[in-house]
């Protein structure tokens, strides 16, 4: 890629969201808005290498999009444009559209961006469609980049995005910010989409390291955008806090050879303390808004328990157990119960942890958790601490067989070696 193309790509990444949002205010269809914005980008790719980058790239792109929008309208009207009256009506509409676009250009308002986010995360869409549209329209990622991040062929991702846009159009989803009770429900959908994007990057089940880091960064950025747009929603601050606190450990989560380093073993001097501060501030916001018991705020509070102490041994596990108890009240799930069992094991000893864990196992039964490698992994850890090495070994071996992630397999194999060593010295 030449320098000018890299420049255009960078300009596109920072301008595209507001551009699409402003056009959508006029077209009321985010699929068409995105196509018009894309057309403007294609024009820029043709013109800018010849004429140089304009002083105000955002305004330039908007003007180009306006021209495309008028062409688009004209094409549609050509088919029915038979007599003068329609022509006059068309000219009137054309002028109206031009005026509306000029106005949109003058004041790209934050509300447009918020409407764009709500529309991309609309519940009428399948979850993977919401994620893809959000990354594409608000993240400014290309279809190829999104495909790379989610390990699917570019063509598949292209179809997913196309289908999502079609669904929105066919369902006549209005380009608006929901109100009242509907707002709460829709905010939840937006938050879950952003957190899914974050987790896809953070938990790295497999694949492209660089692209996954980009997903985390993008999710945090979306969270920061959203607190500006919805400053009164406590869970928005709660989610931002959770993501900032988790992301602050990124540099410490990989060892020199790329191996995973778990929380207790991390070099805490590698944590990003400016980011921790931002996470703590966001958590404070969520609490001041009365949302301290929200799902994301509670998870953030747990993350904060870890970031607050300088050594792993100083972790206040009793407090973490209490926070997990609260989380079990608001959003009970086998995963939360599993994490709670780990905390109980740390706070009250491995036997208590094992007891809590076996309760989770009974709860999970044949559910998805039954095939979840962390269940035998945690069980193995607890058994090892209790000196029941033979059982511990069996559990860890089961966990290895259950995960496809190479890094995790390495980590678990390392654990097996520790058990062998402990067995010998016992």
């Amino acid at each position: 890629m030449t320098d000018i193309h890299k420049t255009i790509e960078a300009v596109w990444k920072i301008e595209s969201t507001r551009l699409i949002a402003a056009i959508a205010r006029v077209t009321r269809d985010i699929g068409i808005a995105e196509e018009l914005a894309q057309d403007a980008l294609v024009t820029a790719l043709e013109v800018w290498p010849e004429e140089g980058i304009p002083d105000n790239p955002a305004a330039w792109l908007m003007t180009a999009a306006k021209r495309r929008a008028l062409d688009f309208l004209r094409r549609g009207r050509m088919l029915v444009q038979k007599h003068e009256e329609i022509t006059r009506e068309f000219e009137f509409q054309q002028q109206q559209l031009a005026d509306a676009m000029d106005q949109a250009l003058d004041q790209v308002i934050d509300d447009d961006v918020l409407r764009l986010i709500f529309t991309a995360c609309h519940p009428v869409l399948a979850v993977d469609g919401r994620i893809a549209l959000t990354l594409r329209l608000i993240g400014g990622l290309t279809t190829a980049e999104i495909a790379r991040a989610f390990l699917v062929p570019e063509k598949t991702m292209g179809q997913r995005i196309f289908r999502a846009k079609k669904t929105l159009s066919e369902a006549h989803v209005p380009f608006e910010t929901p109100r009242g009770d509907e707002l709460r429900r829709r905010v939840e959908s937006v938050l879950s989409v952003i957190y899914l994007i974050f987790n896809e990057g953070y938990t790295a089940t497999s694949g492209d390291e660089w692209m996954r880091a980009a997903l985390c960064d993008e999710a945090v950025r979306l969270g920061r955008m959203l607190v500006q747009l919805l400053p009164g929603e406590s869970e928005v601050h709660g989610l931002l806090a959770l993501m900032e606190l988790q992301a602050s450990r990124t540099a410490a989560r990989r060892g020199r050879n790329g191996e995973a380093v778990l929380l207790p073993d991390q070099d805490r001097s590698l944590w990003d303390y400016a980011q921790i501060q931002r996470g703590m501030a966001a958590l404070g916001h969520a609490r001041r808004l009365g949302g301290g018991a929200g799902n994301y705020a509670l998870q953030a509070a747990i993350a904060a328990c870890h970031t607050r102490v300088r050594r792993a041994e100083e972790t206040d596990w009793e407090r973490i157990v209490l926070l997990y108890d609260a989380l079990m009240q608001t959003t009970p799930s086998p995963i939360v119960a599993l994490n709670r069992a780990v905390a109980v094991g740390m706070a009250q000893g491995p036997a208590a942890g094992l007891e809590a864990l076996d309760a989770v196992g009974r709860l999970a039964g044949d559910s998805a958790l039954a095939g979840y490698h962390l269940l035998p992994c945690v069980r193995g850890d607890l058994l090892m601490k209790m000196g029941r090495f033979t059982e511990a070994r069996e559990e860890i071996q089961r966990a290895i067989a259950m995960t496809q992630n190479l890094r995790e397999q390495e980590l678990l194999t390392e654990r097996l070696k520790q058990i062998e060593k402990a067995t010998l010295s016992a």
Binding site: D110, D267, R268
Partner: protein, 123 residues
């Protein structure tokens, strides 16, 4: 995410014209846009270079303080932004907007080193 310092350099003894005053609104608008885009970590303006103090280490181990800026130039740091961007290209794209908004030269540098608070380094 990488962080970048975007520093704006102002001519000394700068007296804003009425036109420049209108520019302040543009700069405010850019700041709002940076915050809304989730990229701005910090921004500020600094006092004129004439009010600066410069400290230099002396061969005898002492410190010598003089009034005025470190560099004898006609332009000095006027203010800066700290942004989080995916890469240098995006930081430069924001800096381009900064130059258009404030008309001063803007220098972009990636921030590389973030010392941890002292209490967390003693493992």
């Amino acid at each position: 995410m990488p962080k970048y310092l975007l520093s704006g350099h102002q001519v000394d003894n700068y007296v804003p014209t009425p036109e420049d005053l209108a520019m302040i609104d543009t700069i405010h608008a850019l700041n709002r846009e940076m915050i809304a885009a989730g990229v701005r970590i910090f921004a500020c303006g600094v006092s004129p270079a004439a009010q600066a103090k410069t400290l230099r280490a002396q061969p005898d181990g002492g410190v010598f303080i003089t009034d005025g800026p470190y560099l004898e130039t006609k332009e000095h740091l006027g203010g800066f932004w700290i942004l989080e961007c995916a890469d240098m290209d995006q930081a430069v794209a924001w800096a381009r907007k900064g130059v258009v908004a404030c008309r001063f030269p803007v220098e972009v540098r990636e921030l590389l080193f973030f010392p941890a608070p002292e209490e967390s380094t003693g493992q």
